[in-house]
Amino acid sequence: MSMPGISMVKALNNGLRRALQDDPKVLLMGEDIGRLGGVFRVTDGLRKEFGSLRVVDTPLGEAGIVGAAIGLALRGYRPVCELQFDGFVYPAANQIISQLAKLRHRSGGAITLPVVIRIPYGGGIGSIEHHSESPEVHFAHTAGLKVVTCSSPQDAYDMIRQAVAADDPVIFLEPKRHYWSKGDVTDEPPAPLERARVTRPGTDATLIAYGPTVPVALAAADVAAGEGRSVEVVDLRSLSPLDMDTVRESVHRTGRALVAHEASLSHGFGAELAARIQQEEFHFLEAPVLRITGYDTPYPPSRIESDWLPGVDRILDALDRSMSY
């Protein structure tokens, strides 16, 4: 099936439809996902097609959504939860971190919890407080969870189905500012869910991004090319587990690494990447690993978010610094 020029929202919608068709144990649950089709319309039309027992409009309460999903998984179901916005995930923290992530370990492997938690995340949409956050590190730091994020309609379509088919709990982060970006989607066999991808090859520096910063990184690489610099862009796709093989191979060739993410700098995912790169490629680095990120503040009011977010200019500034070593 070829799906030319569809949005990420439509790609996710198609992926979820396929998941529902492929396995009768798959069900979707969340606030406003049924009748309304989700506030971003990711589940549009699915309730009508699959019924209210498989596309469940839940009461408000994020702990309830994830806690009930655990119970459904214990009964053999594969629930896909939608938590409406990134900033609304914290009421579910106990159920995600202390229950969902740990039950397999606690049970010595007797319990399998194939639960997917979809979270529209990141900023850049001019929204109000709690609607633009990047909570990935909380989950990437929690043993027992997989954390993935898509950056294109094709990956959205492939990765959501792979996440649903995975037997471990998956935090599925959807970069909401790219929800309406369009791209061609095909049904070619996808790369493994946990594999990073070199999205743009280059030779002078490796620019590592994921989710919402991937298109930004590609735009920065375009500008840099005009200035005579060849930047390789790596889309991590999976934060946990982390595909260090792809990262290492790239940095080994370029000798320079930059990391761009929207989440705050300190203790962010870039810190983990910097530590791992210096540990594994120490003798091949021409410059320190640099990070281009949000600042160590709460997410700012939307009128000033574009300066706060790691944009093309800040990435190019960091590239200048890296190249000056």
């Binding site: 106990n94 010595g108 471990d168 946990s240």
Partner: protein, 378 residues
């Protein structure tokens, strides 16, 4: 600022006490609000309560001897747990807190498997599907939502309302009075009510959440809270095994038939401290505990069985012999619980071990095999 004592709402003043069939003196009476099951195996109920008490007593002794790090005693709550458990069908699923040793016993778990969590040899201890008894949950109230989700699965599996007793299934989830204040418990009530789920919430109101008396949690009785969510709440004498059995049986039957959730409040008392690490003397008077010891759940059934002539002295002697066997099994079993190998913690974190975790495991195994000890001088 002067503190004003809370005034209970008008409907909180119930003239009727908890449902009770068996008085503390051992007299069997009827209660107009609920019928007793047609078939009752009173000797079996007594036997299980006695053995569960011995299990608990022995575990406390093992903790005192240093064999367990901690033990949460169920003493005083034997009737609530054994009564509720005897109402279960084989296909029903149980979600316990961390104190449901009596329910575990009635579900047929090897009681030694309850000790591993407290000895530090495991974080679980049993396969939750084998006896349809989920793992203990330590975070208060979290399991109520798992029970709700499981009940949603039952609805989708058409496992309720067929009228086939061997097929229709319900969920029995345990919680304490402290859990009533947790947000997750209240979310579970909302979900169960809105979807009319086949789940029975069995609250052992043992009146103490560590040092907090029930008055810290609420100004109305536990059972009354159900009405605000839109399902029945039933208050029973938690030290009367028959009241607990009858109320749970009634609620489970309603759940299995598609009649929706029930909240049962078993009014009882935590005779021992919260756990072996707690000192109840710091927050409650011994005199109140003594009053509750006088309402002992075992003693009243023993009196009834003796007075009615249903059993003879040999029955009690037989139970005593089984208690000794159980204690011996626990002592031996506890000491021979296998200590997990260094790889075990790595093995079940994911279905397939990620490469990075594999590297960490390899390094850890190498470290352990080298015979080094943390902090040892090299």
């Amino acid at each position: 600022m002067p503190r004003k004592p809370p005034t209970p709402t008008a409907d909180a003043r119930r003239s009727d006490g908890p449902i009770q069939f068996l008085t503390p003196e051992g007299a069997l009476e009827s209660d107009s609000r609920l019928g007793l099951p047609a078939r009752l195996d009173l000797p079996a109920l007594y036997r299980d309560m006695a053995l569960v008490r011995r299990l608990d007593t022995e575990a406390i002794a093992l903790q005192r001897q240093g064999e367990l790090g901690l033990w949460p005693s169920l003493r005083g709550q034997e009737a609530a747990q054994v009564g509720a458990a005897h109402a279960l069908s084989a296909q029903d699923m149980v979600f316990p807190t961390y104190r449901e040793h009596g329910v575990a016993w009635c579900r047929g778990l090897d009681p030694v498997s309850l000790l591993g969590l407290f000895r530090g040899t495991t974080l679980g201890g049993w396969n939750p599907y084998e006896n349809r008894f989920q793992l203990y949950t330590l975070v208060i109230g979290a399991q109520t939502l798992h029970a709700v989700g499981y009940a949603m699965g039952l609805v989708r599996d058409d496992a309720i309302g067929s009228g086939d007793d061997s097929r229709d299934t319900a969920v029995l989830v345990f919680l304490g009075d402290g859990a009533l204040s947790e947000g997750e418990t209240n979310e579970a009530f909302v979900w169960a009510a809105a979807q009319n789920l086949p789940v029975v919430f069995f609250c052992q109101n043992n009146q103490w959440a560590i040092s907090a008396p029930y008055s810290v949690q609420s100004r109305v009785p536990v059972a009354q809270r159900a009405s605000g969510f839109g399902f029945p709440g039933v208050r029973v004498d938690g030290n009367d095994v028959l009241a607990c059995l009858a109320a749970t049986g009634d609620a489970l039957a309603r759940a299995r038939s598609g009649g929706g959730p029930t909240l049962i409040e078993a009014v009882t008392y935590r005779v021992n401290a919260h756990t072996t690490a707690d000192d109840a003397g710091r927050y409650r008077p011994a005199s109140v505990t003594d009053e509750w010891i006088a309402k002992d759940p075992l003693e009243r059934l023993r009196r009834h069985l003796t007075a009615s002539g249903a059993v003879d002295e040999e029955f009690f002697a037989g139970i005593e012999r089984r208690e000794h066997e159980l204690a011996d099994h626990l002592r031996t079993g506890c000491r021979s619980l296998p200590v997990p190998g260094p790889a075990s913690s790595f093995e079940h974190t994911y279905t397939t071990m990620p490469a990075e975790l594999g590297h960490q495991l390899a390094g850890h195994l190498e470290f352990v095999a080298s015979g080094q000890e943390n902090g040892a001088t090299r």
